[in-house]
């Protein structure tokens, strides 16, 4: 551990890729752009692997801190440094981000091969990796915020990658603006941290909280809730989840990397990183758990009726993120991070496989027009199958272990926890249902469209699919106990209460049972009796309409928030303040100048002799003033006038 790990290389390598491809990309040959785009994340992954090797090889002295010798902010009592911290938590995150990120870079080479703006795409993707690794490595909240905002920027740029399409540009703006609302919470949380603890460094906050048992509830709750607001924005939780489904306008690998595997999990990380704050506020933890469970159920129900393959996956992502929040909310941070990791594998795989499907049938995303693709896309089919079984929670695939750990931890939290567990279980049923619906509609049965001529994707796309499929299958075999024990120094140890293996087995059995039930329902509805879904929808018109329109949340936000804000901007700020007040002031100043000018311009006649006459008159006046002894003249002349007037 004595050797330097060179953590600073991890963010800066992708940043170099961003600069090279961003500035020179359009002038470089394509193979060079590809090489730059792939080598920089690979090198960053290598640095992370090297760090992991040192951590596992030697008796690890984590957390390992690397601080830039130049201070960043040094004002009064506020000291902020560029400090990077490697501990168990950030190591897991880094492995996921750079590993999955690199796979998605490879996949993108095939997927984006024919697209315009190839270099631009990869420079943005590298930029995202830069900010994401900064976010994860940051040793203090402010540096984390830099990464936080940066990934938001990269997300905005990539959602709006097809900026000529109005819907894509609008989706980018929506994501950016909704995230800003969450960022307000993050910022206020940071100010409160600074006011109450005098520092933004996570380790110092933890020490101060540990020293004084008086920190309980009160201001800590407020800080935690502010941070939670930030997390709901970035991680697409209720009530700020609305941007994520629209974010599917971006290229599919972007959806896989940013809007499924890494960036949207930043909120979970942001709760786990300063988790001591949440540990000191039972109320805030409860809110986190309820938000998570509610989001999980809410998004899963919407996912049932979506017809766009990517939107189904988007709602699935929101739902799975809800599980992670639920895990955080019951203080099972290691279970949440475990699910974060497995989710990164199987959700990235689902998106990439969906992208492979879309790519192979010429850009079609509507599930109703697919079908029968099993034979034509064998690799895509088998990898997708692995992911579907994984997310549905079948043993021994990845999500079985991680979802189970979360549900089990929830169940142990008393009656409230059991209610949350039940919500989680229902969500698991819905998850299996909508995932198998997608699976049947895409791959099984007969093709429902004659225009589609499928062809399997190139190996640059199939390779990452296979690797991710292996990870989705085997990613959970580490086991939550070992994983939690590894993470314990960074996230606290509150999961290892498995005193009742009996109970754990029953709960696992229940989870597998509902997953099977979900499969069976999907099998009946979408394989055996394809006419039945329509009948179900017709039998429950109100419910179906509600779900198909996503609970009208967009419409409600539009009517209650966006419209009034736009009206206020246009009428009050636009007309009264801008045109009336500021415009009026400008007109007033201009009017005075013009009025004065109108008078003064009479002197500027262009007539030389009139200038000379004014000059002479002025000189005469000055002379008169200087020569005449006014002190004696004035009284005398007034007296004279007085006399003439006849007094």
């Amino acid at each position: 551990m004595n050797g330097a790990l060179n953590l600073w290389l991890i963010p800066l390598l992708p940043f170099a890729g961003f600069l090279l491809n961003g500035i020179l990309g359009s002038r470089l040959p394509k193979w060079l752009v590809t090489a730059i785009a792939l080598v920089t994340p690979l090198a960053a992954f290598g640095v992370v692997l090297n760090a992991a090797r040192s951590v596992f090889g030697v008796a690890a002295s984590l957390p390992y801190v690397e601080t830039c010798p130049i201070p960043w902010i040094n004002a009064g009592t506020l000291h902020v440094d560029f400090s990077l911290v490697l501990d168990q938590l950030s190591l897991v995150m880094l492995l996921v981000i750079t590993g999955v990120g690199f796979l998605i870079h490879i996949y993108s080479v095939g997927y984006m091969g024919d697209e315009e703006g190839y270099a631009r795409y990869f420079s943005f993707l590298n930029l995202f990796l830069f900010f994401m690794t900064v976010l994860v490595l940051a040793g203090n909240a402010l540096l984390m915020f830099v990464g936080w905002e940066g990934v938001g920027l990269a997300s905005y740029l990539l959602i709006g990658f097809y900026f000529k399409k109005d819907s894509a540009a609008n989706a980018g703006k929506k994501a950016f603006i909704v995230n800003r609302i969450g960022d307000v919470g993050f910022l206020i949380g940071m100010f409160l941290l600074l006011a109450n603890f005098g520092t933004l460094t996570f380790s110092e906050i933890a020490i101060k909280l540990g020293q004084d048992p008086g920190w309980q509830g009160g201001v800590v709750t407020v800080i935690a809730l502010c941070l939670l607001l930030g997390a709901t924005g970035k991680s697409a939780q209720l009530p700020l989840y609305i941007w994520l489904p629209d974010a599917m306008e971006g290229p599919t690998p972007v959806s896989a990397l940013i809007h499924a595997a890494t960036m949207v999990t930043a909120g979970v990380y942001m709760i786990a990183r300063p988790h001591v704050l949440f540990d000191h506020s039972a109320f805030a933890l409860g809110v986190v758990a309820i938000v998570g469970a509610a989001t999980a159920l809410f998004a899963a129900t919407i996912g049932l009726v979506q017809n766009d393959i990517k939107r189904v996956l988007a709602y699935s992502t929101i739902s799975q993120l809800g599980y992670m929040f639920l895990g955080c909310g019951v203080a099972a941070y290691s279970a949440a991070i475990f699910h974060l990791m497995t989710h990164a594998f199987f959700k990235a795989l689902l998106f990439l496989a969906a992208g492979s499907v879309i790519h192979s049938i010429g850009g079609e995303q509507d599930l109703r027009k697919m079908g029968g693709l099993r034979k034509k896309l064998p690799v895509t089919f088998w990898t997708m199958t692995a992911a579907v079984f994984a997310i549905a929670g079948f043993p021994p695939l990845a999500a079985f272990f991680s979802k189970d750990a979360i549900l089990y931890s929830a169940f142990l939290q008393g009656p409230g926890g059991r209610a949350l567990w039940f919500v989680g279980l229902v969500t698991a049923l819905l998850t299996a249902l909508y995932m198998f619906r997608l699976w049947y509609l895409t791959f099984m049965g007969e093709s429902r469209s004659t225009e589609i001529h499928a062809h399997e994707s190139p190996w640059s796309m199939r390779g990452p699919l296979v690797i991710l499929a292996l990870l989705s299958v085997g990613g959970g075999w580490i086991g939550i106990e070992r994983f939690a024990a590894f993470l314990a120094p960074a996230t606290g140890q509150r999961i290892a209460q498995s005193a009742t293996p009996h109970l754990e087995l029953i709960l696992s059995g229940a989870a597998v049972a509902v997953a099977l039930l979900g499969w069976l329902i999907a099998d009946r509805l979408y394989r055996q009796k394809p006419a039945e879904p329509a009948q179900v929808a017709a039998a429950l018109p109100g419910a179906y309409k509600l779900l198909a329109n996503k609970y009208y949340v967009d419409e409600i936000y539009g009517a209650t928030l966006v419209k009034p804000l736009l009206g206020f901007s246009r009428y009050v700020l636009g007309w009264v303040v801008d045109i009336g007040l500021l415009g009026g002031l400008a007109w007033l100043l201009g009017g005075i100048a013009m009025f004065a000018g109108a008078i003064l311009q009479r002197w500027q006649s262009g007539n030389l002799r009139s200038y000379a006459a004014w000059l002479a008159a002025g000189a005469a006046a000055v002379l008169l003033f200087l020569v005449v002894p006014w002190n004696s003249v004035w009284p005398a002349s007034i007296e004279f006038i007085w006399k003439v007037a006849g007094h």
């Binding site: 311009q601 500027q604 006649s605 262009g606 007539n607 030389l608 002799r609 000379a612 006459a613 002479a616």
Partner: protein
């Protein structure tokens, strides 16, 4: 010395200077021809030169006389430039009436 005899009081010289200067001003104001205007300026300059010399003699200060040389030198230079401008204006506009040369008017 014979010119500035003790019989002629200083006020006469100054009065002459004032008269000459006033003539110059009036000429400048009422004449239309650019060359006449120009000559009026020279007249004013030399009226001032006369008062310089007068005071220099009265107070036995040589500075006033030196000033006169400066004024004459500058006036010569100004005459050269001014006449060149007048010729250029005449070539361009075919007139020397100051009232017509008002291109800079708003």
């Amino acid at each position: 010395m014979s010119l500035f005899s003790q019989d002629v009081p200083i006020s006469w010289y100054l009065l002459l200077s004032a008269v000459l200067f006033s003539l110059g001003v009036v000429g400048f104001l009422i004449k239309r021809n650019l060359i006449t205007v120009f000559m009026s300026i020279e007249l004013m300059l030399n009226a001032v030169n006369l008062s310089f010399v007068t005071f220099a003699h009265e107070w036995h200060a040589v500075k006033g006389q030196i000033f006169v040389f400066f004024v004459m030198m500058v006036a010569a230079a100004e005459a050269a430039v001014g006449l060149a401008i007048i010729i250029a204006v005449f070539r361009a506009r075919a007139t020397l009436a100051v009232d017509r040369i008002d291109l800079m008017k708003l």
